[in-house]
């Protein structure tokens, strides 16, 4: 049994179903892994902790990994499996604001934490959509508060992960029909998002454990794809304070928009499109003003992925692409 200290990106939830199911059904154990799973403290912290060896594996945003690896080549480590094939990044507004297309954000006020990954990508989004980023005003605000400020009309738009933002707004009494959002991916910003990464030391010392971990996670993912309710149950079992209804809804959105995307269903889970990732690296390096453009091999290492056959997912989900809101 190899010990694996694993950190999620944030609070455990149904979107982490793959990991939680694998943990609870003993898929990891079957691979000879003794996994401890902790909640994450945000992607940036996850990356630092992986680099420092506090955890062996984790679930950070790949874009944050790029950022870190570029600045700390000595401590760099790669992503070994993509989790979210499409980033849930979106700019969210209320319909009552009258904003119908991104360009209208010119001169408007955007509320976000400066360390929010969606916000950090906003300059690329702006360039792609013709927004004059310099004309947009920013309000620094904790992630927990941005939806409130949007409802209070103290800001005109907020960047955020779509499945969180919609639910947050709903909890504040705003139905999805009153919300308009612009997904980054619909404007040609085809980013990957949260992904499984491993510290460089763990990769070197236990390459087979990493492989085993990914295999077991895939098994969990397949369970989740077959029956999302399993993921909801696993999440509530892991963290009893969660509300299953909210988790269910969040998962539904997440699966549709970002996890079981068309590409995943066609080509299997976890791998990358080289060209697409290269483009991403270039865009991120520019947007983040990185000291150097990391090479793709530094960011992603496919060597630990199971075979493509194993990575194909059967899903009962309607093959319906997550649509732009109207």
């Amino acid at each position: 049994q190899t010990k694996v200290r694993f950190t999620l990106d944030w609070i455990p939830g149904a979107t982490h179903g793959a990991f939680l199911i694998a943990l609870q059904k003993g898929y990891y154990k079957a691979e000879g892994l003794d996994v401890t799973m902790d909640r994450g403290k945000g992607s940036a912290e996850v990356v630092r902790q992986l680099a420092a060896g506090v955890y062996d594996m984790g679930f950070p945003d790949i874009n944050t990994v790029m950022d870190f690896d570029s600045r700390n080549p000595d401590a760099a480590f790669p992503v070994v499996m993509i989790g979210y094939e499409e980033a849930p990044a979106a700019i969210v507004t209320l319909k009552s604001s009258g904003i119908t297309e991104p360009k209208q954000l010119n001169g408007k006020k955007l509320g976000s934490a400066p360390n929010d990954s969606t916000f950090k990508l906003f300059p690329i989004f702006a360039r792609k959509t013709g927004i004059d980023a310099a004309s947009v005003e920013f309000q620094t605000i904790d992630p927990a508060l941005r939806e409130v400020l949007l409802v209070q009309k103290k800001v005109d738009a907020i960047p955020g992960q779509i499945f969180n933002a919609l639910l947050e707004l709903k909890a504040k009494g705003v139905p999805a029909s009153d919300v308009r959002y612009f997904m980054y991916k619909d404007y040609g910003l085809l980013l990957y998002a949260n992904s499984v990464a491993a510290s460089s030391r763990f990769l070197k010392e236990h390459p087979d454990s990493v492989r085993g971990f990914l295999r077991a996670t895939l098994k969990g993912l397949k369970d989740m794809a077959r029956d999302p309710e399993l993921a909801v149950d696993a999440a509530v079992a892991f963290e009893p304070l969660l509300n299953p209804d909210i988790e269910r809804e969040r998962l539904k959105v997440a699966l549709e928009c970002c996890i079981l995307t068309e590409t995943v269903r066609k080509k299997g889970f976890g791998d990358i499109d080289r060209e697409r990732l290269e483009t991403n690296i270039t865009e991120i390096a520019e947007a983040y003003n990185l000291p150097r453009r990391p090479k793709l091999e530094e960011i992603f290492d496919a060597a630990y992925l199971p075979d493509e056959k194993e990575r194909l997912i059967e899903t009962v989900l309607p093959a319906q692409r997550f649509k732009k809101s109207e």
């Binding site: 950190t7 944030w10 609070i11 939830g13 902790d38 909640r39 403290k41 912290e45 630092r48 902790q49 420092a52 506090v54 955890y55 927990a144 409130v148 639910l167 947050e168 909890a171 504040k172 009494g173 963290e239 009893p240 304070l241 969660l242 509300n243 909210i246």
Partner: protein, 260 residues
């Protein structure tokens, strides 16, 4: 009569505060996702009593370890700083500088050193809470009447004798005051650390609850910390009444004057 009044006072005041809370919500029509009603909060406490209890105990344990360490360290440093002008002028500014820094920013550093878990929270509780003890003990020691020292010195007492038999007893009232400040800060410290980087505890509950839009549970968690704080206070109060009665023999002297 008086005694009964004194016993009832905190309850009456608590009820008044709850009423005010309710009134506020009623008058300004505050949405429950901003501020839940006391009733909703109570329901959340009941509904989640089991996790709240477990996480509460975890926070309490973390807090207590950090707090006890802070008291021991604070007492020692306070005695040093209060007994020597050189230590006072050397150490005090540094302590102030250190304590002006938000400890939350240092939590990730501790996580990286000590790993995720209880130790960073204990460290945070410790770091947040030792300074009031230092400040009060130092001031108490620095202001000891020389006459009391002379009594001891004329007996050829050692420095430690003087500290034990004069310094500490004389500082007790302000030591207890600093304990009260320190314990609240220890709670704040461990909860903050739990929010930033914990896997357990009330801070974690707050974070999960807020990510689930369960604002009543967030407030329930806050109430639990508050109650834990008051519980600690009750313990201090018990000892304080016994150990510092000599210092408050004046009782209500100021009130007696005009008859408040």
């Amino acid at each position: 009569m008086r005694k009964l009044q004194e016993r009832l006072a905190p309850w009456v005041l608590t009820l008044a505060l709850i009423a005010a809370w309710w009134l506020l919500i009623y008058l300004f029509d505050i949405k429950s996702f901003i501020l839940p009603t006391p009733w909703e909060t109570l329901q959340a406490i009941y509904k989640f009593r089991y996790p709240l209890f477990l996480h509460g105990m975890s926070t309490l344990a973390t807090t207590l370890i950090g707090f006890v360490a802070a008291v021991v360290f604070g007492l020692a440093l306070g005695i040093l700083v209060g007994s020597s002008r050189l230590a006072y002028s050397g150490v005090y500014p540094l302590l102030i500088g250190f304590n002006s820094v938000p400890k939350a920013a240092l939590v990730p550093v501790f996580v990286i050193w000590f790993g995720a878990g209880t130790i960073p929270a204990v460290c945070t509780a410790f770091m947040l809470s030792f300074f009031p003890v230092v400040a009060n003990v130092a001031t108490a020691f620095a202001t000891i009447e020389p006459e009391l020292f002379e009594v001891m010195r004329s007996l050829g007492a050692t420095r430690w004798d003087i500290t034990r038999k004069i310094g500490i007893p004389r500082s007790l009232p302000f030591f207890f005051a600093s304990l009260k400040i320190a314990v609240t800060l220890a709670f704040v410290g461990s909860v903050i650390a739990e929010i930033v980087a914990g896997n357990n505890g009330i801070g974690n509950v707050m974070l999960v609850a807020s990510s689930n839009f369960n604002v009543p549970l967030v407030f329930a968690a806050l109430v639990v910390v508050g109650v834990l704080g008051v519980g600690m206070y009750a313990i201090f109060d018990f000892f304080e009444r016994r150990m510092t009665a000599w210092s408050i023999r004046g009782g209500d002297a100021l009130v007696q004057t005009i008859g408040g």
